[in-house]
Subunit: 385 residues, 2 copies
């Protein structure tokens, strides 16, 4: 266990978006320096928060090795880098990467991910690797149409997924998703669910910290709100938490992980997706929990003891504030959000706003979940960015 923090410690982020940004704020709190490697040409938020900024592709091992050599430890803020590349960067730079390339290899491919979690005894959404139209037809017969086709690699907020209603659509989706270029394509059944749940788990050599089970409220496959703890039976919350801890153990995770579940109409809890990084579903933890997912991300990768995941108030509602205009970013009509006691506005510092882009979020704490959620929606409904 690390029992000290050296002032010169430098934490490197592969990726420079809002997740790196909010993690960097926690690193700074411990007096740790932050470096960032971005594959975007646009100035990303974290690039305004450090003098140590690198640009390059996520395929360029040499460039990432040069970056990694300037850092004491490296972490990820997205899943867009291949585990084999991560392994090379780690070996050639000598700088440890967490989540480790080994852990990452178990979840970067959706097929391996499903198998890993199934092998650990975690129920997952019904799926099958489909190679051709016979497989697709069989899957439709077994689980019914429509269902999802997913590329085994990639996928973020609905990208890399297609809903297919019949064989014609499925054939088209199979091609769109790269099925003919050797990408593994999974068919995944729609399950009838009452709630989508999520649980964050922080884990390192000092222990494991599991966050409350929250509900993610989705519209058009985009998360619009997160409610914590989820308005479901405590036994269901505990079940999701247990499965999340089991899943983090199954990949021997070091860092912060998010696990998303379906609560089916039959009362089953099925693991749907995992993310080896801070996750939108955990933004409420900044004010909603004693130690946020970002704080525990930083602590976990540095080998420090983990912070408490206990909630600070009975209820937390987080509203995602998506771009409403295509324009230079400007958050308007925010007075009420700023003036509301127990309301906390976060603006991500992205230079350009685009319709639907994640630009900001608002967390409201309260005593009653439904009241808090409704109030948070009211407060943010005229928000423009």
């Amino acid at each position: 266990m690390t029992t000290s923090i050296k002032a010169s410690t430098k934490l490197g982020f592969l990726g420079a978006g809002q997740l790196a940004r909010m993690s960097a704020l926690q690193a700074f709190r411990f007096g740790i320096q932050v470096a960032v490697y971005s594959d975007r040409s646009e100035n990303e938020p974290v690039q305004f928060m450090t003098p140590f900024s690198f640009n390059g592709s996520f395929d360029d091992v040499d460039a990432m090795v040069e970056f990694a050599k300037t850092c004491d430890v490296i972490t990820l803020e997205n899943e867009f880098i291949n585990s084999e590349i991560l392994r090379k960067v780690q070996e050639q730079s000598g700088t440890p990467i967490f989540p480790s390339p080994d852990s990452f290899a178990l979840i970067e491919n959706k097929l391996i991910e499903k198998q890993t979690f199934e092998n650990a005894g975690i129920p997952v959404t019904p799926y099958k690797l489909v190679k051709d139209s016979v497989d697709i037809t069989d899957f439709g017969k077994q689980y019914g149409w429509p269902f999802l086709l997913k590329s085994s690699k990639g996928g973020y907020d609905g990208y890399g997924n297609e809903t297919v209603k019949n064989l014609t659509e499925a054939a088209k989706a199979f091609e769109n998703l790269g099925g003919h270029e050797g990408h593994d394509i999974l068919a995944e059944a729609f399950v009838d669910f009452t709630h989508e749940l999520a649980v964050q788990v922080a884990r390192n050599e000092t222990g494991t910290m599991v966050y409350p089970c929250c509900e993610t409220v989705q519209e058009n496959h985009i998360c619009v709100a997160v409610l914590s703890s989820a308005p479901v039976d405590e036994s269901i919350q505990q079940k999701a938490q247990e499965l999340a801890v089991k899943a983090a153990e199954a990949i021997d995770g070091k860092g912060i992980y998010a696990f998303e579940f379906f609560l089916t109409t039959d009362g089953e809890v099925l693991l749907n997706e995992s993310a080896p990084r801070p996750h939108n579903s955990g933004h409420y933890t900044i004010e909603g929990c004693v130690g946020s997912q970002f704080e525990n991300h930083v602590r976990a990768v540095l080998g420090l003891p983990l912070a408490s995941s206990k909630m600070t108030k009975p209820a937390a509602a987080m509203i995602n504030l998506l771009g409403t205009h295509n324009r230079p970013a400007e958050a308007d009509h925010i007075s009420e959000a700023l003036a509301t006691e127990d309301g906390h506005l976060h603006v991500y510092g992205k230079v350009q706003s685009k319709v639907g882009r994640k630009m900001a979020h608002f967390t409201l704490l309260g005593d009653d979940l439904e009241v808090t959620h409704q109030r948070a929606r009211e407060i943010t409904k005229s928000f423009e960015i």
Copy 2:
């Protein structure tokens, strides 16, 4: 009232120490960019947190104007710049500075400060401008020896002050403090007090937010702990809060201000010092209050509605963690501080540790003030940095 935040907004700090650092973290939360102008050669914490870093003297108007022109608004993190220089920087750059040069001019000189607050009906520690040994002798007769001699300009944690026991010591101190070089020297009586109190006030065109009245626990003129709310009668707390608001109004302050008081053995509340910036006595507000002094510093200077100053738990104890070694900074024996629920460690990121230098702090929240304070002391007593 500003009802929007533009992504490209840049907040400039004159000074790059831990107060700018903790304020910058709040600016980042709103997606605002930070630039810093430092007069130190050593790499200061905030210089690791921005690509927009300038070095220069606090006397160099031209350099500060160049810096200010790159920013949308400028703020201070110390009192080491002359108000006349600030005025020139503001005029020549066109960039507003808060606290304004006018506000700052009313408190930068200890004599004018005392007069300003007295004129506003705020009781202050007994003082007199002393020109020579006759004045000094008279003051000793009226208020008794020992007393304090203070240079009217400068002064920070006991620097710029000397305690004098007799005329010989006073003559020496008068010279040390620059009395023969035209510096105004104030004599200030020691008052018998039971507690030293402090109150933060945030203020701008949208309103005023007053923080709880806390106690600053001093050893050898250095603040070692802050307890909130102060263990004194509620009527005393309210009195200090009222005087603090009145003082902020007296200087037409825009920004965050700290006011320090003596609670005398007679039960009087006397204003002792003021600071036009975030203050060590308000560090506990980061976790102890809904909106911290740093958040309200940023909100106030940007003209945004202010955050609630309500406490998040009944009690907060903040322990200053001073340098224990002269060495490259390394915070040791921090496991317990990190692992304690409701404990919050902040390390300032200073590269070099020096014995007695403010390097970090630890805030513990709890239900009972005395228990929380004792526990916070226990947890931090083996801390080394």
